[in-house]
């Protein structure tokens, strides 16, 4: 059964078609890749799925409910969390606080309880802290929990962003170019980590990459986007030999 399903989605910016007639589905538990050359519309597609943009036409369903007209925070509360191509941490806050914010919409206590520190306030704050530290341990960031996020090395910032997205307890995780700026060894480690978190949390993952080797290595199914349209989809082996895909990639490289 498909967890996420987009049908006939198009997005116009002025007269420019950034994404056109975009069809895709992601089944529960799958690890799917969305690839394509630079400027193919991958991030726009992500922004459509997460409510940053509203599609001009088409439908997007998640968990059998439409995501149209929903704001990004509502979509996150429904169970889709994401990372960003250009890392977007809460850069002046501590590593721990970055993760704590992801629990925000799970918090039960109200304004009165927080201001007067009564009722569930202390109990829930303690729970949040414990859970956040647990997540940081998984990502080997617990020893850095009091550091300011912007002072972390690049790779650790990427890990923190993924940890923060997972802390929101999503059903579907969207990763926007998680390997951007990483060296081959770091990319290798990242692949292992993505595989592992999928097993550990029973997650469904959709990731964007323009680096073919990473996607071929871990994704079960791949969509290829060019000029805003899907030109091919299937298992990695098929995609590798698809003449359209080769043309799209080689064509763009020859330029």
């Amino acid at each position: 059964m498909s967890l996420l399903k987009a049908e006939g989605v198009s997005k116009l910016f002025g007269g420019l078609k950034a994404v056109s007639n975009f069809d895709m589905y992601v089944n529960k538990g799958e690890l799917v890749g969305l690839i394509g050359p630079n400027g193919a519309g991958k991030t726009t597609a992500f922004n459509l799925l997460t409510g940053v943009y509203q599609p001009t036409t088409g439908t997007i369903d998640f968990d059998d409910k439409s995501l149209l007209a929903m704001k990004p925070y509502q979509i996150t509360q429904r169970g889709i969390a994401r990372t960003f191509q250009n890392i977007r941490l809460f850069s002046e806050l501590s590593v721990l606080d970055n993760v704590k914010i992801a629990y925000h919409f799970h918090v039960q206590y109200g304004l009165f309880e927080s201001v007067f520190r009564v009722g569930r306030y202390f109990k829930e704050e303690a729970e949040i802290e414990a859970k956040a530290i647990e997540f940081l341990k998984i990502f080997k960031l617990d020893d850095k929990k009091d550091e300011i996020a912007k002072n972390l090395p690049y790779g650790a910032q990427r890990r923190l962003e993924i940890a923060r997205a997972l802390a929101a307890q999503p059903k579907l995780l969207l990763l926007d170019e998680p390997a951007a700026g990483m060296n081959p060894q770091e990319t290798q480690e990242l692949m292992t980590m993505i595989r592992w978190i999928r097993e550990e949390f029973g997650l469904t993952i959709l990731l964007i990459e323009h680096d073919m080797s990473l996607v071929m290595g871990i994704c079960e199914r791949i969509y290829v986007l060019e000029y805003g349209s899907i030109i091919a989809s299937g298992v990695p082996a098929d995609i590798k030999n698809n003449p359209e895909v080769i043309r799209a990639y080689l064509g763009s490289e020859v330029e």
Partner: protein
């Protein structure tokens, strides 16, 4: 009992000791009426700067119209106590409710704006509030609302200041406050983490406005009068200066900023012709040498010395 609650109780106990000492000095007339006035002004300014810090420093929404909300609180509370003979507390709560409601109504459409645009819109709204009051003859129009009884004294001011500080401190240290801080840090990421950014921006703005309303109520009931000229955008600048001077995102900073600026202003009162020149130069120099404010975003209670002083527990 929770450690942070113990810390709170210690601070409250310490504050009450401080209150008793100052109150004693006031009743024994060791502190004269000039400094009594300034102590109360410091209290009112602390409420203004701490509440503005919630909006500007913690939520990152640049507001330049805080004096407008103070005006609403001053006038609403004065209407309640003078025209309806309500008790002072009802007047203050009414002032807070009036300013908070207006903050909510204004915040909802304007908080879509960002940065300089929001700053200039709030400045404009603050001025519109003032000009509207200027044209309402029911509250005295351009000559001001006169004949307000003096209900505000040191005790009222002190305990309302304490309440305001704890209210806002506890708010920013809760999940709601973290949502506001997340908006300041990165609005798009906050939204992606499930934070309803509009809701929290409006919430911070409303709470800030309500406290400005309380400060306005105290102000009007100390000076016997509420006058539109007390609530110009220059007054809003003055509160912003206190916040920036202390450090955006530090409650300790806002308190210190309010104390220092009120104090400088009072100390220079005998040289009226130099007062504003020195004040403006001090402002410029401060921004040169400490653009992040005196405290940055650090609280006094975060400092190591303070922790040791308190017994070094963690």
């Amino acid at each position: 009992m929770n450690l942070s609650r113990i810390k709170d109780i210690k601070i409250i106990a310490l504050s009450i000791v401080g209150f008793a000492i100052i109150q004693l000095l006031l009743t024994e007339n060791i502190i004269g009426s000039f400094w009594e006035l300034n102590i109360i002004l410091i209290g009112i300014n602390i409420i203004m700067s701490v509440s503005l810090n919630l909006i500007n420093g913690y939520t990152g929404q640049f507001s330049l119209g805080h004096a407008g909300f103070m005006a609403v609180g001053a006038y609403v509370s004065a209407i309640l106590t003078v025209k309806f003979q309500m008790p002072f507390l009802v007047g203050l709560i009414g002032g807070a409710a009036g300013a908070g409601t207006l903050g909510f109504l204004i915040g909802l459409p304007t908080l879509r704006l960002q940065g300089d645009y929001l700053a200039i819109a709030t400045l404009g709204l603050g001025e519109i509030i003032r000009i509207c009051i200027l044209n309402i003859s029911y509250v005295g129009g351009a000559s001001g609302f006169m004949g307000i009884p003096r209900y505000t004294n040191f005790a009222w001011t002190f305990f309302i200041v304490l309440f305001s500080i704890f209210f806002i401190k506890n708010f920013v240290n809760s999940s709601h406050g973290r949502a506001c801080i997340a908006i300041r840090e990165n609005e798009i990421a906050a939204e992606a983490m499930g934070v309803d950014t509009t809701k929290y921006k409006v919430m911070a703005f409303t709470i800030g406005a309500a406290f400005a309303g309380v400060a306005g109520g105290l102000f009007a009931h100390y000076f016997y009068i509420a006058h539109p000229a007390s609530f110009t955008f220059m007054a809003s600048f003055n509160y912003l200066t206190m916040v920036v001077m202390g450090g955006l995102g530090s409650i300790t900073g806002s308190i210190v900023g309010a104390v220092i600026l009120t104090f400088i202003s009072a100390a220079l009162a005998s040289w009226p012709e130099f007062r504003m020149i020195i004040y403006s130069l001090a402002l410029i120099l401060l921004m040169f040498y400490r653009p992040q404010g005196l405290f940055g975003n650090i609280e006094l209670t975060d400092l190591k010395i303070f922790k040791r002083f308190k017994g070094g527990r963690k």
